[in-house]
């Protein structure tokens, strides 16, 4: 039997346990990601952004709850639906937007695009577009920490669809065998493109992960505080040297898989049901209830965000395209000591 927590509004952590500043930070980040993604969608329709564009709308609590539980020295590696993770990690959103535009001021100087956001300074190891292909890489990042004996842990973010790939199995198994400090963070939004979870994996994901003998928890991915708590527990375990930890966050994507998705595989009613459990709305409501946010504060927040995102677009618009003469840059790195 399949079981476990869904995204329904089960009572999550009480907000009075959290510093006011942190709650405002969470609300701001989630709302910023939401608006950033909405505007990306517009810019795509306008022909400013090309290729595949995968929006994160509806899943903001996952990125914000998970990445805020990490430290700067920790490493993050994720899949192609990566804008929300990049923003929550603190990467300059102007440079993210410029990358989506393919401009020289983009995080990858316009070479990578939406699916391949990298930022060395933020220990953000990409943005990977081959489903589950980054999972063994995460095991290797963890292995390096173990060898360096540094205090960095690695968070690997992937989707429910990635669980179908053999590399999920190899990466998890190796991470346990080698006792690497890796947190496996699965964003289970119920679909891999148009394929329902129940058609793609034979058991609950967190139960399959548990079979590798690592702690494995499921949390409500529509509640930023629930995600934050789940990942904090994972960080505690992993940083103490006890090895990998698996977290499955139950969430939902409001938009199509990519901008090309006709969405034939689900009903509008289903989408609306989950929109009724919106993570941003949930936190806003909690903060209002607790007297931490007035209507005025909130509209002021949205205005600020509107301006911040506009700046990103202006920045990207004004950044030049890479020069054709640089076509062959970055293929081979010349040896440092040979």
């Amino acid at each position: 039997m399949r079981s476990g927590l869904t995204t329904e509004s089960v009572a999550g952590p009480a907000i009075d346990d959290y510093p006011e500043k942190l709650l405002h930070h969470f609300l701001h980040q989630m709302a910023f990601i939401r608006r950033f993604e909405e505007r990306c969608g517009e810019m795509y329709t306008k022909g400013k952004i090309h290729g595949f564009l995968h929006l994160y709308i509806g899943e903001e609590a996952c990125a914000v709850g998970a990445l805020n539980a990490l430290k700067d020295q920790d490493r993050v590696i994720t899949h192609y639906r990566d804008h929300g993770h990049a923003i929550a990690r603190g990467i300059d959103p102007k440079r993210i937007m410029a990358e989506l535009y393919g401009r020289v001021d983009g995080t990858s100087r316009g070479r990578g695009g939406s699916m391949h956001i990298f930022d060395r300074k933020k220990n953000f190891f990409g943005g990977h577009a081959i489903v589950a292909g980054h999972m063994p890489v995460a095991t290797g990042l963890g292995l390096a920490s173990k060898m360096h004996k540094d205090d960095a842990l690695t968070m690997c973010i992937f989707g429910d669809g990635g669980v179908g790939e053999g590399e999920f199995h190899e990466a998890l198994n190796l991470s346990v065998l080698w006792n690497t400090p890796v947190i496996w963070f699965c964003e289970n939004n119920g679909y891999g493109m148009g394929v329902k979870l129940s058609d793609s994996i034979a058991n609950d994901i967190y139960k399959i992960a548990a079979a590798y003998r690592m702690p494995s928890e499921r949390c409500n991915g529509m509640d930023v505080l629930a995600v934050y708590e789940a990942v904090r527990a994972a960080v505690k375990h992993t940083r103490s040297g006890s090895g990998p930890y698996f977290v499955e966050a139950m969430t939902y994507r409001y938009r199509g898989h990519s901008m090309a998705d006709p969405e034939l595989y689900r009903t509008k009613a289903e989408v609306e049901k989950f929109q009724g459990r919106d993570p941003i709305e949930r936190l806003r409501h909690q903060m209002v209830e607790a007297g931490l946010l007035t209507a005025a504060d909130h509209s002021e927040l949205l205005d600020r965000i509107e301006g911040e995102v506009r700046e990103c677009i202006e920045f990207a618009d004004s950044s030049p395209n890479p020069d054709i003469s640089t076509l062959f840059d970055f293929i081979i790195k010349e040896p440092s000591n040979a």
Partner: protein
């Protein structure tokens, strides 16, 4: 004759084969409920049901292997790998199982499996999603590699693929899915493998292409004719393995010049094979070395201008031809 888009011609072939042969079934990621990532299989789930149009998990190695097994057991599976880029996680199944079991069993077993893949760049999908690896597959004995350039050929070759007793790698160029062409209505029409098509006759130079590059060749031929009065003959290979080398050699012996055009990287690409064989078989007829017009040897850039610069264009073909005069 009705005009169809490439994707519709492919769908017709799949429909007709599903109707013709009950052993035929389709497997792939998002070929059903989603309607096919390039809409090739759109509507087939409703028409033929879940047993014959199977949506699968994201397990390329698993589904290609399952296709091999189903084929060994007497079925006629078609596995769609969403794009050729993802075939890299399934390539062991293709090479070590599909292409070799007939041989390794001393002819006892064979693997009639059709593997369809979308290939090619040009849509700003970046380095991991813009490969043109059909030439790589053509290297392996035991495989067939089919690369149609036009809707009518695509339909007739795909129908032929389902009648083959061996694994067939069927390549569909993403940039051609919406291209249109007349397609005969005759549902029994099939095209044999290994028969190239001279789609334009000329006497000054032979331009060889397949899949997407055939269209660059066509545009180049028009420019050469208009601007330089050079008459180019164009050969559309249609299949890379088996390869219709005779058609190329026959043409080159008349034109004394040859240009090979492909999207893939030049270094170690299939164009080298074509160039080498032309030299081996028409050396004394060549007035100039065979020229190769290919993609630049760089992982595909996301930026539009860089990607355009990385891919071969008709101007490059024209340039190559002029350099031979």
């Amino acid at each position: 004759m009705p005009e169809l888009r490439m994707r519709d011609a492919l769908r017709e072939a799949l429909r007709e084969e599903l109707i013709r042969d009950e052993r035929v079934f389709l497997m792939g990621e998002d070929i059903g409920a989603y309607g096919g990532s390039y809409a090739v299989t759109h509507g087939l789930l409703d028409e033929f049901g879940e047993a014959r149009v199977m949506d699968t998990p994201i397990s390329e190695s698993g589904i290609v292997g399952a296709g091999v097994g189903a084929a060994l057991a007497g079925l006629r599976p078609m596995v769609e790998i969403m794009t050729i880029n993802f075939s890299l996680v399934a390539i062991d199944q293709i090479i070590n199982n599909a292409s070799k079991i007939h041989y390794m069993s001393g002819g006892q077993f064979n693997v009639p499996l059709v593997i369809r893949m979308a290939s090619g760049g040009g849509s700003q999908l970046g380095a991991t999603h813009s490969h043109s690896l059909e030439g790589m597959y053509a290297h392996f004995p035991g495989l067939r590699v089919v690369c149609p350039a036009f809707p009518a050929d695509a339909k007739a070759l795909l129908k032929r693929a389902f009648r083959d007793e061996n694994p067939v790698i069927f390549i569909e160029h993403t940039a051609l899915y919406s291209s249109r062409g007349e397609v005969p209505e005759d549902t029994d029409l099939i095209l044999e493998f290994g028969v190239a098509n001279t789609i334009r006759e000329g006497c000054d130079v032979t331009i060889v292409g397949y899949s997407g590059s055939v269209h660059q060749a066509l545009r180049a031929a028009v420019l050469l004719d208009k601007q330089e009065g050079i008459s180019a003959e164009i050969i559309d290979l249609r299949t890379l393995r088996p390869l219709d080398m005779d058609a190329i050699v026959e043409s080159v012996k008349r034109t004394n010049r040859a240009v090979v055009v492909e999207d893939d990287w030049k270094f170690g690409g299939f164009g080298g094979e074509l160039s080498a064989q032309i030299m081996e078989r028409a050396f004394d007829w060549l007035d100039a070395p065979v020229a190769r017009v290919s993609g630049k040897d760089v992982p595909m850039p996301y930026n539009r201008n860089l990607e355009y610069a990385a891919l071969p264009a008709e101007e490059d073909v024209v340039e190559a031809v002029l350099a031979m005069q």
